[in-house]
């Protein structure tokens, strides 16, 4: 009955069955993904919100924090540049994870049954859902990346970074959507999902370094940031986005506030000693080697994908 039902010449029964099953599994993934995309695209408020949200994060949060940093630090650190990868991570994170609520919608409206009773493998359905969520997250990611050259300059280097950031953000999105799917598969109530997700997500997010540099933290918090897989994800995005970019601008000299005539009378040795005593703001752009970040993010995404497929398949 299926379209690939004919056995080809010289094909063993096993090969045929395998080909047929693989094809069916792929078709299932595609259809589930396509449906989620159609639903997304037809929901105009959601489409607009999705587009505008990352821009709000970047400009309001980034500009606000940049100003705050100037006040606190007295320097002109380009905090918005520091924030950019964090906001990229944050956008991908939240959109990915919350996209899984569509599973609960489908459960509520009965459509999940239609999918679950079909002969498509459950794993295909789970993967289709995960790719659907990751795609939505990446739409937002791409909107942010379009703004990338405005902050970091229009250059071949910027283009290269954008090209590198897309697959890395997608990797992160797949891992995070998987968390959402794994949890949604175990939940019956629509109301509970955001609560549970926030409980899990907010600590992960705050400890990831997306919002503030993970420097000078108390020891226990540093330990938490080290076991948070998201730290490595944000570190990875930041490492690439800020590679070769100076975000620490020239700190205004402490002597600028003192009248020139007075300054001239300070002996040069004393001047140097004073200048060294004033702490310089030095933001860490990359805490771990890139290969380590990448390894952990890939491992995390694969494990989460596995868990999501397992959890989704076992539901009745």
């Amino acid at each position: 009955m299926a379209e690939a039902i004919e056995m080809q010449d010289g094909e063993s029964t096993q090969e045929y069955l395998h080909r047929n099953n693989t094809r069916r599994a792929m078709t299932g993934v595609y259809m589930v993904w396509l449906r989620d995309m159609k639903r997304f695209w037809r929901d105009t408020p959601r489409r607009i919100g999705t587009t505008v949200q990352p821009i709000i994060y970047l400009f309001l949060l980034g500009t606000g924090l940049q100003a705050a940093f100037k006040v606190f630090g007295g320097g002109n650190v380009h905090f918005i540049k520091f924030m950019f990868p964090g906001i990229l991570g944050m956008t991908v994170l939240f959109t990915s994870v919350f996209s899984a609520i569509s599973i609960l919608w489908d459960r509520e409206f009965g459509f999940l049954k239609e999918i679950l009773v079909s002969p498509v493998p459950r794993a295909s359905v789970a993967v289709g859902k995960i790719l659907g969520g990751a795609t939505q997250a990446m739409m937002q990611g791409v909107i942010l990346l379009i703004l990338f050259p405005f902050l970091f300059g229009f250059s071949v280097e910027s283009l290269g970074k954008i090209v590198a950031l897309i697959p890395l953000a997608l990797l992160l999105a797949i891992g995070m959507t998987s968390i959402g799917v794994a949890i949604a598969a175990n939940m019956q109530s629509m109301e509970g999902f955001p609560v549970i997700m926030n409980l899990l997500l907010l600590p992960m997010f705050f400890l990831s370094g997306a919002m503030f540099p993970l420097q000078g933290l108390p020891g226990w918090m540093t330990v938490l940031t080290k076991i948070n897989p998201l730290s490595y994800g944000v570190d990875m995005l930041r490492g690439i986005a800020l590679k070769g970019v100076s975000i620490t601008g020239s700190t205004p000299s402490i002597f600028s506030k003192i009248p020139k005539a007075v300054v001239a009378q300070i002996p040069p040795q004393a001047k140097a000693a004073i200048a060294n005593a004033v702490p310089k703001i030095q933001l860490q752009t990359q805490r771990y080697p890139l290969w380590l970040d990448l390894l952990i993010v890939i491992g995390f995404s694969i494990v989460m994908l596995g868990i999501a497929i397992g959890q989704f398949s076992k539901q009745e």
Binding site: M1, K38, R39, E108, F109, G110, E114, S118, E316
Partner: protein, 331 residues
């Protein structure tokens, strides 16, 4: 494709489903013959949907076994799923998609070959008279249209068995008749077995055979006619000014009288040739009679006789109504 060719298409042996302490389905066994309309009749909570869910591989049985189209429901899930069409009790369409898109989704999921996919979709849309609404989104559909589309969808992939779980629940009588016309037409047109559940007695009359289910047990299984014959004779309902006194008088005058165990009706009894009995009854009856009614046995009486209670719509419609209201509130 059925391994046993003509004959039985569903075989159920000692099927059990427990939810914790609760025994939802208590070791039921039955067979469904190829090409018949087989009905599961029982009140809400009797275990109808649980049984159907197990046969459709949506629920894992606690015990026992069953085959559908020759495939085991526990070990050959995919083959079972390909053999069946399913219309759920609750709506299960994607209302953001058009009717055609819903059907396309289903057709691809069920591997309907691409070269016949479009023509098959036209065919089923035509069958349920929704061809002119194919490009409209489901959110614009009425309840009856949605149900018709779900039936069309259930037929799309040429299933051997079509499961209909309460196919007419929550629909108005006119739409209900409409749906039944389709179901009966289907049986004539397509080589298909129909397995349905219902708690509407009138609907059960459409079935070739009925299994009466209560508290997870099948308490009778036969054709509607045979079941009604088993009730024996007509049912006479008597209303008097003093029911207790009348009952005493009845028992005294007609000691062989078999009273029906209905708590709602104290003076209901069975009688062969009831129309000839009524004149005898009312002549010289001491208690003042308010009304006498006679009716041929219905499935209601069958159920009453078997279980001592009537099947009622015990809030099922309000519940699903509330569900719809809640879903709207959530949107």
């Amino acid at each position: 494709m059925s391994k046993n060719g003509k004959g039985t298409i569903i075989e159920v042996t000692e099927l059990v489903k427990n939810f914790g302490e609760l025994v939802a389905v208590n070791a039921v066994s039955f067979e469904v013959e190829t090409g018949e309309i087989f009905g599961f009749l029982g009140p809400n909570g009797a275990g109808k949907t649980t049984t159907i869910s197990m046969l459709c591989t949506l629920l894992k049985p606690t015990g026992g076994r069953a085959t559908v189209n020759g495939y085991d429901i526990s070990t050959d899930k995919h083959l079972v799923r390909e053999s069946i069409g399913l219309v759920f009790q609750d709506p299960s369409l994607d209302d953001r998609l058009t009717a055609r898109e819903n059907l396309e989704f289903h057709a691809v999921l069920y591997h309907v070959p691409r070269n016949i996919r479009d023509s098959r979709i036209e065919e089923v849309l035509d069958m349920v008279s929704l061809d002119d609404r194919a490009e409209d989104r489901i959110e614009t559909y009425s309840g009856g249209m949605k149900r018709r589309l779900e039936i069309a969808r259930g037929l799309l992939h040429y299933p051997k068995v079509l499961f209909l779980d309460e196919p007419t629940i929550g629909l108005d009588p006119q739409t209900r008749n409409y749906i039944w016309d389709y179901i009966e037409g289907l049986k004539k047109r397509e080589a298909i077995t129909i397995f349905l559940t219902t708690h509407y007695m009138e609907e059960a009359e459409h079935c070739d055979r009925i299994a009466v289910i209560d508290n997870g047990n099948i308490i009778a299984l036969d054709t509607p006619e045979n079941l009604k014959d088993d009730v024996g004779g007509d049912v006479i309902k008597l209303k008097t000014e003093d029911d207790d006194g009348a009952k005493e008088e009845l028992m005294r005058r007609f000691p062989d009288l078999e009273m029906l165990p209905d708590p709602e009706c104290k003076l209901c009894f069975k009688m062969e040739k009831g129309e000839e009995f009524i004149p005898d009854l009312i002549r010289d009856f001491g208690t003042k009679i308010v009304s006498v009614s006679l009716h041929r046995p219905t499935l209601d009486d069958v159920f009453l006789q078997l279980t001592g209670k009537e099947i009622r719509d015990e809030g099922s419609d309000t519940k699903s109504g509330m569900r719809v209201a809640r879903m709207r509130a959530n949107r």
